[in-house]
Symmetry: C2
Subunit: 164 residues, 2 copies
DNA sequence: GAAAGATTGTTGTTGACGACAACAATTGCC
DNA sequence: GGCAATTGTTGTCGTCAACAACAATCTTTC
């Protein structure tokens, strides 16, 4: 655009007299402080990033973990039931299960009772893998405790119990 | 509709007589209960949906609201500073500001001190609009109180204050 | 004072994710 | 038997985070 590029300017030191306020600490949030949604959002981002990192070696994301956990605790569920329970779109669950089935962690068994639906089960490797995932998830949960405090985490779980 | 699915009262029963466990209430979550991330995620989805619905008439989403709030409280900030403060990618902020600028709520002023950066300001309409947004956001916050309880919300804000 | 490196805004891509819509196969209902 | 509803699937669209590359500009360093 502006092809003229004579940059020989007298030194305008922006960092001398006028504070530039580029540091996050100095910037006020005004009304944002006191908004539950903002705090929850930031916390959720942090917690997911820690979960993803902690379970990075096994390459399991939070949603995948929740699917495996529910299937593990309730073998034979249909995709619709899992989707409803976890608040996932059934269209989305298709891809999630495709991935998990490809990794031999889950298998779709054609249901005898309802030939439209699939009964979801963990494979043998899925069971042992989930056990490992749970250990790593527990480690992640300890990170949360370390971040906000043990009793704060317990308090939080109690407050939000109605949403699980 | 996702998180707090309305209960289906009549127990569904397959033709063969075995309970089908399609209702969410009957499905256990096993290890998922006790995971802070899961509860926080579900709560965050609920809270954002209520925010979007409550500010639906003015068509303002949570992220847009946070950007407007920070600019309103700190006029003249650069895009980089806003992005850092809110934990948004600067690439993402470009589109957000494009939209807000198109709606005449925000203006990008070429900075004198640093010709690379833009000083962000609310327009006059932006100021009055933000005032209205804040009233609606306060209404949303009352919804949160009604959902989890007044002192629970306060407790939550205290616990998560470090993430803002 | 000029070269080298860092920063700012921008554009683009990728992938996870939610919301919808349409479809075939199957089931339930009347 | 016929018709509406359900289940899994495929596809599209839009939001959002994470990167990468780039031009313009600033800062640092020699």
């Amino acid at each position: 655009m502006t092809a003229t590029a004579p940059r020989t300017f007298p030194r305008k030191r922006a960092s001398n007299g006028t504070a530039r306020r580029t540091d996050a600490d100095e910037i006020g949030l005004d009304a944002l402080v006191g908004h539950a949604g903002y705090a929850v959002r930031r916390f959720q981002i942090w917690i997911f990033q820690d979960f993803i990192k902690t379970l990075g070696d096994v390459d399991i994301r939070p949603t995948q973990y929740s699917v495996l956990t529910v299937i593990g605790a309730n073998p034979g569920l249909s995709q619709m039931a899992v989707a409803k329970r976890l608040g996932i779109e059934r269209a989305r669950l298709v891809h999630l299960l495709d991935s998990l089935e490809q990794r031999k962690l889950v298998k779709r068994v054609k249901s005898k009772a309802d030939r439209r639906s699939h009964a979801l089960h963990l494979t043998i490797q899925g069971e042992t893998a989930l056990a490992k995932f749970k250990r790593l998830a527990a480690e992640h949960e300890r990170h949360v405790e370390a971040k906000i405090g043990k009793e704060n985490r317990a308090q939080l779980l109690k407050i939000l119990a109605g949403f699980t």
